[in-house]
């Protein structure tokens, strides 16, 4: 299978999360991933786009969230970019620490890391945070 790329540019609103997940489901189907992998990709895409909409762009609808799916026979790579100010990964509290268990937020990154094989964050040279997530096609 040659590499297939799908790109979305979404407004910074809650509805965009489901829109990105719907597109992810189509990509996953075409790639023939297992149902477990499909669940993980769905969860990771929702969490990454949630972070981009809420924390990156702070629901500012003048800002967009870009989502790119790169699917090949080896792997599915998902790249989500926001236009926010960025964040320091080291300052994100571990939600599984006893003192954080009753916090109502902060579990999205844990799910992204749990369900994807690789997750990396970077700053885009033109601004915004980029998260790149990889699911290997075993």
């Amino acid at each position: 299978m040659t590499e297939e790329t799908t790109e979305l540019v979404l407004p910074s609103r809650i509805e965009s999360i489901a829109q990105a997940a719907d597109e992810a489901a189509k990509v996953v189907r075409r790639a023939g991933l297992s149902s477990d992998a499909a669940f993980g990709v769905d969860m990771a895409v929702r969490e990454a786009v949630t972070n981009a909409v809420l924390h990156g762009n702070r629901q500012d609808e003048t800002k967009t969230v870009e989502v790119e799916f790169r699917s090949s026979s080896r792997q599915l790579v998902i790249i989500v970019r926001d236009q926010g100010a960025g964040f320091d990964l080291d300052e994100i509290a571990d939600p599984t620490d006893a003192q954080n268990l009753l916090k109502t937020s902060g579990r999205g990154i844990l799910f992204m890391r749990t369900f994807m094989d690789e997750v990396e964050w970077s700053q885009h040279p033109e601004g915004g945070t980029v998260v790149r997530m990889t699911k290997k096609n075993n």
Partner: protein, 115 residues
């Protein structure tokens, strides 16, 4: 169709919420929050969430479960969970929330635990 449907029934002084659908950011989370707030306003503090029909939950939905748990606890009540799907059980294990929530597979056992 609503993202999350909730049907309420009473067993003694315990309110059971039979839930079906998805608890995700936006509508699903808000529906749960609204239901819990209403019960607390009515003085109903012993609440059992039957999650058998909940096929999907995201981190926001899990946050809403935690928020419900603490809100009910602050009022001197108890929130317990019944009939978790395997996926939800996995998510609660990953987040270590299985150590926080009281979880049951049998409604009778769950109801007896409030006594």
């Amino acid at each position: 169709m609503a993202e999350l449907n909730i049907k309420e029934r009473q067993a003694g002084d315990v309110v059971i919420l039979d839930m079906g659908g998805r608890i995700t950011i936006g509508e699903g989370s808000v529906t749960l929050r609204t239901a819990i707030r209403r019960l607390l306003e009515e003085g109903k503090k012993r609440i059992l969430l039957n999650l058998a029909g909940v096929g999907y939950i995201d981190s926001s939905g899990i946050g809403e479960l935690v928020s419900s748990y603490t809100a009910i606890g602050k009022e001197g009540g108890q929130l317990k969970l019944l009939n978790l799907t395997q996926k939800l059980q996995d998510l609660l294990a990953i987040t270590k929330l299985l150590t926080v929530f009281d979880v049951y597979e049998s409604e009778t056992e769950a109801l007896n635990s409030y006594k």
